[in-house]
């Protein structure tokens, strides 16, 4: 895998000077490479990995399975794209298996999410069924463990 992307995906706060040292490439080359990734849409943004479970009143998240009637020629794309504009919708995936689309939806309360599903989502043309799963606890997100299991450096000075 591309080492630059790997490094940035693990630690987006690395400066171009640091990346240049780490990868042994000139700094302007690194800067150009990052610009290229940003321009081509491979890098979409930089953000902190937040453990929302630790933030009081940060709201609730539900995973919603959708069965959708595919459209001629367009399949699921047009329907999926029509979901992107909703602030409540955090992510949208097309899936293989028992259902078609998987959404993660965020709301302030369970009632908010329920209202969104019942009044907005279920009412959309082409929806065949929905199944809503509320998330209870996060253990790991985006490759980062959110529970503090044995973080201590247990290595000893022995000699």
């Amino acid at each position: 895998m591309d080492r630059l992307l790997q490094l940035l995906s693990e630690n987006s706060s690395l400066t171009t000077a640091e990346l240049s040292m780490i990868l042994g490439e000139p700094e302007d080359y690194i800067a150009a490479q990052i610009k290229e990734y940003e321009k081509s849409g491979i890098i979409r943004g930089y953000r902190a990995v937040v453990n929302w479970d630790a933030v009081p009143e940060s709201g609730v998240v539900a995973l919603i399975e959708l069965k959708v009637a595919p459209q001629l020629q367009k399949g699921f794309d047009e329907f999926a794209e029509s979901l992107l504009g909703y602030d409540e919708v955090e992510s949208v995936y097309l899936m293989a298996g028992a259902y078609d689309l998987l959404l993660t939806v965020k709301g302030r309360t369970i009632q908010d999410v329920s209202a969104f599903v019942a009044k907005q989502l279920a009412a959309m043309n082409g929806i065949l069924s929905t199944a809503t799963h509320f998330m209870l606890k996060r253990y790991k997100e985006n490759g980062v463990s959110l529970v503090d299991i044995d973080k201590k450096d247990r290595r000893e000075m022995v000699l």
Binding site: L7, I22, L23, D153, R155
Partner: protein
Amino acid sequence: MNYTDKLTESIQTVRPSGIRRFFDIVNEMDDVISLSVGEPDFQTPWHVREAGIRSLEKGRTWYTPNRGFKELREEITKFYSRKYNISYDPLTEVVVTVGGSEAIDIAIRCMAAAGDEVLIPQPSFVCYEPLTIMAGATPVIIETKAEDNFRLTAQQLEEKITDKTKLLILPFPNNPTGAIMERADLEAIAQVIRKHDLMVLSDEIYSELTYNGKKHVSIAEIDGMRERTVVINGFSKAYAMTGWRLGYALGPAGIIEMVTKLHQYCIMSAPTTAQYAAIEALKNGDDDIKMMCEQYDMRRRLVVGTLNDMGLDCFTPEGAFYAFPCIRSTGLNSEDFCTRLLQSKHVALVPGSAFGESGEGYARLSYSYSIKHLKEALKLIKEFISEL
């Protein structure tokens, strides 16, 4: 009771490790940002741990043959032939030991005794000198120099040889300097060794961790040197298996037979579970080594680049996972530099002087830590220097 006359002169002559002394202070403090540990930060690869676990589940908890499992010895010899182009007979030329450390100890004890001199290049790992003293032999220190890239030169070697010299310790890739020896360097050394009819103990524990595209070369591969070399290696550094305590010695049958005899009497056999895990490591662990080595390499460049940028002249290490910056520009000696850095910024390095007098003026910084951790520590070192 006074035990002075109850204890041997040798053990009382041996100085306590300088690393330990410094770390008694570190252990008293909380919130220390350490760059001092001499072992991988990676965990043993899962498939290797699993092999150990499976052996326990099956109840394989007995001693192994004294030399180690035959299958393990076969994999070790395959490893040396595939990686370093030297072939050994798994039946007579390998012994599996408790870490490389045991192998160093028993090999020295088999080859040097009272009246013999053992040549030890320094800065180097702290065990060679005490173990030589405990064997009754006399350590003779050769100080490697920054201007020689901390390599051992044939001339330095020649100058220290007397008619009592028996053995040269060759600790490369080197802890703490990160220096390596390339083929041409080894050929020059080998010429002197053959001329004076000496033996070499080549400690190659960091052999898999080399950078800049420079693959490790073992002196045993040089013409006429296989018969004069005992190679020490192990699983700790390459496979992140320090706690398993498993190493080995390779050499001509006439020497390994004797080393095995001593091993048999003092240890019997190396840990059984670790041997099962090590077989899996050698069979399927090449990709793990590659992954870890690439990570160390990135950290190495970050650390060396940042140290040089802040004005600490840092030799470019080409092996192991240590940087060895010169701290003379600060006007402090090694111990003061490290103590003051620890007290004012809570960052722990190891004073270079812990690795021999020639390490004075340097500090050892391990980059066996995450990039995030290294960045934080380097930032504090920079602050410390600018406030001096």
